[in-house]
Subunit: 282 residues, 2 copies
């Protein structure tokens, strides 16, 4: 049984006759191939990466499992269409809190065509991307049964200033997320979500250590997805917070150089989360 995902904070969304991703009950996420070369490039990346023996397992876990491509009925009703079959990262999480951070001050790659470069550059300059080294593409935070899900308009989030982005990272681990600027985020889940030996910060630091070394791939316009389930944390269940890299339509060969654009942005995100872990109350 295919359906439109309940929890998607960024990217193309299905529904209303639009082409977008689908999920099933067995933990698969089906992403329709983008129609231009981005689609074929993303398939090429997943195919190459999934069999790349140079990638140690403790870094591979930061990528969704790839199950090949599949022809499925497209969500826009246009008939059979090729989809990437991927691990559904939020599967089994009842009230997932999700933050999508697109990493890198530069979303275009060195050999990009002039018009594509200028289009990306314009967006990088209009958002806080150049300042921050990343931009928050979307988020949702589950407050509680009464307040439900807080999911701010993603265009507002994307165009937010540096301070707004810092604030969003605080709201992501708060029990009182709100658009109301008078409500100060309480950051009450900081230590369990960002902190601790298996928390998001620890995972980001492992990812960083890989990016300091690896010269195989450069990830342009790729996101770090952070996911956790507030209910399971409140109930003391085991499944903790997780990070995953997603969106590989603009991955290019690293040709013996580290991905300094991604690494720089990742370090910026790490610094901001470190500041929250160190001083959650400020």
């Amino acid at each position: 049984m295919l359906k439109v995902p309940d929890h998607q904070v960024a990217g193309h969304q299905a529904g209303g006759g639009k082409l977008g991703p689908l999920v099933d009950d067995s933990g698969h996420f089906y992403k329709p191939l983008q129609s231009d070369e981005r689609g074929s490039q993303e398939v090429a990346f997943y195919t190459a990466f999934s069999t790349d023996t140079r990638i140690p397992d403790h870094f591979r876990k930061f990528f969704p499992v790839f199950h090949g491509t599949k022809l499925l009925e497209a969500s826009d009703g246009s008939g059979l269409y090729p989809h990437l079959a991927l691990e559904d990262i939020v599967s089994g999480r009842t009230h997932p809190c999700i933050l999508d951070a697109k990493i890198g001050a530069r979303t275009w790659y060195p050999k990009a065509a002039e018009d594509y470069l200028q289009k990306c550059l314009k967006k990088d300059r209009e958002t806080a991307c150049l300042d921050l080294g990343f931009r928050i593409s979307g988020l949702q935070v589950y407050g509680n049964k009464l307040t439900g899900l807080w999911k701010p308009d993603r265009h507002v989030i994307q165009s937010g200033s540096v301070d707004n982005s810092k604030l969003a990272l605080r709201k992501f681990v708060s029990s009182n997320p709100s658009t109301d600027s008078d409500i100060k985020p309480d950051c009450s889940f900081t230590s369990t979500v960002y902190g601790g030996p298996d928390g998001i910060l620890a995972q980001l630091l492992v990812l960083k250590s890989w990016f300091e070394e690896q010269t195989f791939y450069h990830f342009y316009s790729c996101s770090v997805l952070m996911v956790y389930d507030k209910e399971s944390i409140l109930q003391g269940k085991n499944r903790g917070a997780q990070i995953k890299l997603v969106d590989f339509a603009h991955v290019i060969d690293g040709r013996g150089v580290i991905d300094h654009n991604f690494l720089g942005g990742l370090c910026s995100l790490i610094k901001m989360i470190t500041d929250i872990v160190t001083s959650p109350s400020t």
Copy 2:
């Protein structure tokens, strides 16, 4: 007694009626203020930085000591002209080997004017800067008494590919530096210059640790200068290799974010030097 420096590998050079830096016998380097806002910005940076109590001493040592500004007879014969009075980094070194690496894939800052941005972007794209995260602006290596100083044309160096830049980093620590592509650099000074507890790599890693933390300054178009004296190494003297940051005409307020552009480029340089230290013979 003011004179034109013997050892300068990048930047504006005095002589032939041109305005350029001067040195004296007491270890001072006098840099004429650039005529536009770059001059005043560099003075402003040195002035603010030299009294900035937030900078721990073990990071401050990576910056030239600042002795204020001074009106001196300009090297172009135009009369008295304001100069920055700085520590002369190569003073006292007989045959200094010098490498100037401009750090950061992006040499323009987010709020830069459109024409300046496009000019920088063009140069960043024409050089290996975008690929590497830095570019080598110039270098000189002293071979021996017979071969003397090897100082390749800096326009050739600047426009070099990724592979050429890697090669230049090898030649910098070789006893047989040469433009001849048949001569393989022997990397015989790798362990004493790049390696060891006080070597360039160790210093770069300390610098990196500061850039992972500091959110005060963003250093656009700034260089890491690496300096060592082959003679003093061969004679087993104490004075080892040194790194210094130079060129601060485009430093801006970090406004609470790390300098991910500089940090990314620095990590790329560190990775390349690490590879040479690990495998000097390949």
